[in-house]
């Protein structure tokens, strides 16, 4: 990842040049930057917004970027080309959110006959540019760091930017939602309410939101590395879930991530 290796981004005095780009997405992840209401103005003392179409009309100067945030999955040829251009001018490229990091909810179309889908969706399929699959950014260009979540967590975004400014590694824990849930003293929704919960196999970062609200985690931060996904699927079935529902549970916002995909195809 190399965040810390080269010291703070642009040397003393110079502002960090930031680009925010969008591919196929809902805009919810880039919105988290604008939702840093308390930090936004202070942040712009250290960061220069070079490209961020949703927030500024100042024309992009096309120059190199120190930090690039990419939201959304690659789902058209134009997006693939755009992404390559963006990568070429970026020093440190971060994918933000489930779409960019795992293909997003729109990856549910993968494996279907898109030509067929298009023909029934549009009166004039020829007008529409679309690739057969919606894929994560890392399938196309090298990625330096990934933030997970649908949407990403604002706190993690600030930690990432702060770490880059200071030239250190972002302190983002690699653990499961289950761990966060236990630490915050929640009652386990699987044990107490019999809710199917993806917490044991899902990457932490949200603060165990769903269990806090009395429902099972639906995996929006994607699979945690090395998670025993099949074991959890087997447990769901042992507790009476039918196979089709089990597959659906893993086939949501991060369903194209290999560990979840495998479980939804089993």
């Amino acid at each position: 990842m190399g965040a810390g290796s080269e010291g703070s981004a642009s040397g003393a005095g110079a502002k960090v040049r930031l680009g925010v780009f969008k591919l196929a997405s809902c805009d919810g992840c880039q919105l988290q930057l604008l939702s840093c209401e308390d930090e936004l103005l202070a942040l712009t003392e250290h960061v220069e917004i070079v490209s961020f179409a949703e927030a500024t009309s100042r024309p992009d100067d096309g120059g190199p970027l120190d930090l690039t945030l990419v939201e959304g999955s690659v789902s058209t040829e134009a997006q693939r080309e755009h992404l390559q251009e963006v990568r070429a001018r970026s020093r440190f490229l971060v994918t933000i959110g489930a779409c960019a990091t795992a293909g997003g909810i729109q990856a549910l179309r993968n494996g279907r006959d898109v030509g067929e889908l298009l023909r029934v969706v549009y009166a004039q399929p020829a007008y529409v540019d679309t690739l057969a699959e919606s894929t994560p950014v890392a399938d196309h260009v090298p990625v330096d760091f990934s933030l997970r979540g649908c949407p990403i967590d604002k706190g993690q975004l600030l930690e990432l930017i702060g770490a880059l400014l200071a030239g250190r590694k972002p302190a983002i824990r690699d653990e499961s939602v289950c761990m966060e849930c236990k630490r915050s003293g929640q009652v386990c929704v699987m044990v107490a309410k019999g809710e199917a919960c993806l917490g044991p196999v899902t990457h932490a970062g949200c603060g165990a939101l769903c269990p806090t609200f009395g429902r099972g985690c639906y995996g929006c931060f994607g699979p945690k590395e090395g998670a025993q996904v099949a074991a959890l699927g087997a447990r769901f079935e042992a507790e009476g879930m039918d196979a089709e529902t089990r597959r659906r549970r893993f086939k949501l916002f991060t369903g194209w991530a290999p560990a979840f995909r495998e479980e939804s195809e089993r």
């Binding site: 805009d27 992840c29 939702s35 103005l41 969706v121 429902r215 659906r248």
Partner: protein, 438 residues
Amino acid sequence: MSEQNGGGESERTYHVDLMTRVEGEGRFFVHVKDGAVLDARLEIFEAPRFFEGFVRGREPDEVVDIVARICGICPVAYQVSASRAFEAAFGVALPEPVRALRRLLYCGEWIESHALHVFMLHAPDFLGYASAVEMAADHKGLVEQGLRIKKAGNALIEALGGRATHPVSPRVGGFWKAPSKETLRALAGDLARALEETEEATRFVATLDAPDFTPDYVYVALEDGARYPIEAGDRIVVSGREPVDVARWDEVMEEHHVPHSNALQARLKDGTPYLCGPMARLHHHAEKLHPRAAELMREVGLGRSEGNPHRSIVVRCVETVHALAEALDIVAGYAEPEAPAARWEAKAAVGCGASEAPRGLLWHRYAVGADGWVADARIVPPTSQNQARIEDDLRGMAPGLAEMEHGAATELCEQLIRAYDPCISCATHFLDLRIERG
């Protein structure tokens, strides 16, 4: 970003490649020759994500989670319209405290979304800046005020839903969990402050010079009895026509696939484009505003039929005041419900539901099979309804552009579109399987 092609003074085109300070990806193209408008297009090229296909075969509560992802700015609107459609299908009525909570959640989204548009996206047009961040160099107080108002809206959604974008608590019948009295009371201070700050900001915004432009609108808005329409309503009111039941909206409105857009365009069946959103709501329901908002309207001299799209910024401010004042009332009167959601059972049925997203009427229809899974879905978002109206406005404005400097004229076109607060991700994601049947 714009260029002039074609020959001589009498032929001009205005366009940008990517509109900025709007949600999602779009551009426009206007072509005028000898004073005649040959073409005026709002082109939506945001990549389609095929949502309506994905909700097939899903359970109703899964649909509530999925449709939220159509739009990161107004996810609650999607969650609520979907919930209402399923509630209509299964005959579910929300107990009063749960209904009030849903309205409170939705107020949070109006506050957050309107504040984003007013202060971060739209105000820079009037004051001459490229962004709110640049505007802050000279108008720090205004930008900080806007950020605090926005934050108060987000805090409300977080308290009720867990997080401001794609909240996890809303579900068919209500919520997974209802907040405690204390949680809500803790918000009152910031809401009260945001209310006062929004009133102050409205007084300022109302003095901003707007370009003169008043097309003749057919206004469309939901109706919810004596309440200003937000999270509910069973009838849709249309200027100069009979009101329509929500369940029959698709008999009155029609969507078309136009070649230059990845979104469908809605019009009334007779071909008339219409306007939904803040100006339409105010036109039909001004007398239902909270007294604080009604008083402010009088004070700043805003009429119920504003009619100038550029002045929609003032209407958004007044609606924000309404949402904040109502939120405070709901918080003050809140008693925890016995259960956070009404009980329901899925059955084979068809249901339609609508709510007033910050940008206007959001209509959903679902058919559920005997297995309790969705068999068919249809969603009509506000921006696809306003799209034809926006193009008509561009057409109406175009002859006047000839006297302007080319860059300024192009900018004015973009400002007009921005004034609508178009939500392009929303508009694109509803390319459904209808054409197969048609």
